[in-house]
Symmetry: none
Subunit: 290 residues, 2 copies
DNA sequence: TATTTCGTGCAACAAATGTTTCATGGCCGA
DNA sequence: TCGGCCATGAAACATTTGTTGCACGAAATA
C-alpha cells in the first residue's frame, strides 16, 4: 500500500470517506465543503446546518484517527493558519536537491507560465473573435499535443454555436474536409515547433479556399501563419520542462471563445442556456445537493 | 442609536484603542496581532497566552460596542471568511460596450489566469508525480471540456511511457476499462463543477479497485476527490468569461508530466528520444529549413 | 427464521465556555 | 486624610460545549 499523503487533515478525510457509513459520509462531505465554518463554529451548530446528529461529528473524527472532534478541529485550524499559506511572493526558495527539487520544478514552471500569459497580445484575439463571430462556419485543426487545444475550442464554441463548428478530420479523412472550406468560413489552426505536415496542409487549404485563416502559433514565421488573416502568438518554450507549454495556447483559445460568445449577445446566451438545460435534463451532471 | 458605519472590526478596534484603559489596550493589541487565533481559540486560552485576565476580553468587546466577546469574535470570523468561489451557471456579466471592451475582456481574463497559476499548490503535484512514476499502468479520464486536459496528459505521458498510459473509454465503453483497474496502477480523473456522472464513476471504480487515485479538480469537496490519494487543485472560476477556466488544469497536467518525466531519468529520456526519432522518420514534422 | 452485528438518534453527562459579581488596590479631588 | 471612582484580578455563575451510554431498527449472518 502506498502511504497516503497526510499533509492535510482534509486529505485524510477524503481518503477515508468512501469506506465510512453513510451518515458519516454526509457529515464528512459537509466538513470538507465548509471547513472554514468547521474551524470556527460549534459542533452542534454545524450539526443543525448539516441536518445531522451532533454525535456524528465526534464519530467522524474518531473514524479517521483523531481522539475526538476537538482534535480534528485543531488540525483543520492549523492547516488553515494564514502564516503558512502562500510563501510564494518572496522568492526565498532554497534550491537544494532531493525531494524538494521536484517541487521547485513545478513552482518554476507555474511562475514562468504565469509570467508569459500577460505578454500575450490581446488585440489580435479580439479581432480574430470578430472574424469568428461573422463566420458562417468554423473549422478547427490541431494535431499531436495541439489536438487538446483544438478540442477544447471546439467544445466551448459548440456550446453556443453547435451547428457551425467542426473539428477537421473527425468525420473522415482530413482531405475531405480540406475541400469543404469556403469563403466566409473561418479556419483555426493550432501548432508550434515542430510543426506537423497535417496542420500546414490545413492552413494552406484554408488560404487557397478564401476562408479566413486564424493561426494560433508560437511564432510569426510558423508555416501555418503564412497567409493567415490573424496570428495569435503564445510562448511555448517559456517554461522549463521537457515539453513546450500549451498553457498559453489554452488561454488564447478560451479568450477567443469568451469574446466570440460576448459578441454573440443575447442569441448566444440563449443558445448556451438551451445547451445547458439539455445537458442537465440528460442527467449528465451530478446534481448539487442543498 | 445610530451606530457609526463599522468597516471592519479590526479597524474599529484600532480606532478606539488609544482611549481605552491600559490593560484593555494590551489585550486589544494582542487581538489585533493574533486575530486568527482570536477567531479559533477560546477566550481563556488567549488570556493565558496574552498574560491577561479572561474577563478583559469581554470588557474589551463591550468597550468597542459589541454585546460581548462572542459577538466580536463572530465579526472577526466573518471578516476573515475566505472569498467563496462564485458558481458560473451562465452568469454572463454585463460589460460596458465600446470598441475596446473586447480587448479589455481578454486582458482581464489573461491577467486573472496568470494570477491564479502561482496559487496552485506545488507539493501535491510532486507527490502525485511520484505515484505516477511508480505506477505500473496509468489511466486517464476526463469528460466534456476536461477531455482536452485528459488527452494532453495522455499524449505527453505516452511520449516516454507509451505502453503504460491509456485514456479511459478510448477502446470501448468506459465500463470495460473500469473493471480493469488494478492495485499498483494509477488513475487520473479531471473534473470541475458541474461534475459529470462518468468522471465520478471512474473515480469510485479506481478507489474500490485499490489503484492510486489522482484527482485534478477545482475543489477538495469535488465528488471525484473523495478517496483520492492525491488531489491537485486549480481555480476554475477565477477568471471572467462565460466558461470556467481550464488554464490551471492544463498547467497542472503539464507540470505533472514534466516531473514524472524527470523522475524517469535516463530511461525516460531515451524513450522520448526514440519516440521523436520515429516521428521524424515518418515525416510527421516539417523539416526545419535554413 | 433466529441471532448477531452495526449504524444511528436521543438524552444525560462532565468539562469548558463566556459572563457577571465581588473584593481589592490605586488614583484623584475634597 | 478621607471618600468616591475606576481599573483589575479571582472566583462563582448559568450556559454551552464535546462526549458517551443506551435503546431501537436495519442489515448481515447462521
Amino acid at each position: 500500500m502506498a502511504e497516503p499523503a497526510k499533509s492535510s487533515p482534509l486529505s485524510e478525510l477524503r481518503i477515508a470517506l468512501p469506506s465510512l457509513p453513510m451518515r458519516l459520509q454526509e457529515v464528512g462531505r459537509f466538513v470538507a465543503a465548509n471547513d472554514y465554518d468547521a474551524t470556527t463554529r460549534s459542533m452542534r451548530d454545524l450539526a443543525a446546518e448539516a441536518g445531522a446528529d451532533p454525535a456524528a461529528f465526534t464519530r467522524l473524527a474518531k473514524a479517521i484517527g483523531y481522539s475526538g472532534w476537538d482534535e480534528l478541529r485543531a488540525a483543520l485550524t492549523e492547516a488553515r493558519r494564514p502564516s503558512q499559506t502562500s510563501p510564494f511572493s518572496g522568492r526565498a526558495r532554497s534550491r537544494r536537491p532531493g525531494p524538494n527539487a521536484d517541487v521547485a520544478l513545478v513552482t518554476d514552471k507555474l511562475e514562468a507560465e504565469a509570467a508569459g500569459l500577460p505578454r500575450i497580445p490581446a488585440q489580435p484575439i479580439a479581432e480574430a473573435a470578430r472574424s469568428l463571430h461573422e463566420a458562417k462556419r468554423i473549422w478547427i485543426a490541431g494535431y499531436r499535443s495541439c489536438r487538446s487545444v483544438a478540442e477544447l475550442l471546439n467544445y466551448e464554441l459548440r456550446l453556443f454555436r453547435p451547428e457551425q463548428v467542426q473539428l477537421v478530420g473527425v468525420s473522415g479523412p482530413d482531405d475531405l474536409d480540406l475541400g469543404a472550406f469556403r469563403p466566409g468560413e473561418a479556419v483555426i489552426v493550432i501548432g508550434f515547433l515542430p510543426y506537423t505536415h497535417a496542420s500546414v496542409r490545413v492552413a494552406q487549404a484554408a488560404h487557397h479556399s478564401g476562408a479566413t485563416l486564424i493561426a494560433i502559433a508560437d511564432s510569426l514565421s510558423a508555416p501555418m501563419a503564412e497567409g493567415a488573416d490573424h496570428v495569435l502568438l503564445f510562448e511555448a518554450a517559456s517554461s522549463p520542462g521537457f515539453f513546450p507549454s500549451l498553457t498559453g495556447a489554452i488561454a488564447i483559445a478560451q479568450s477567443l471563445a469568451a469574446v466570440t460568445f460576448s459578441l454573440g449577445g443575447a442569441a448566444a446566451k440563449k443558445r448556451l442556456e438551451t445547451t445547458e438545460a439539455r445537458l442537465t435534463a440528460a442527467s449528465i451532471y451530478v446534481s448539487e445537493k442543498g
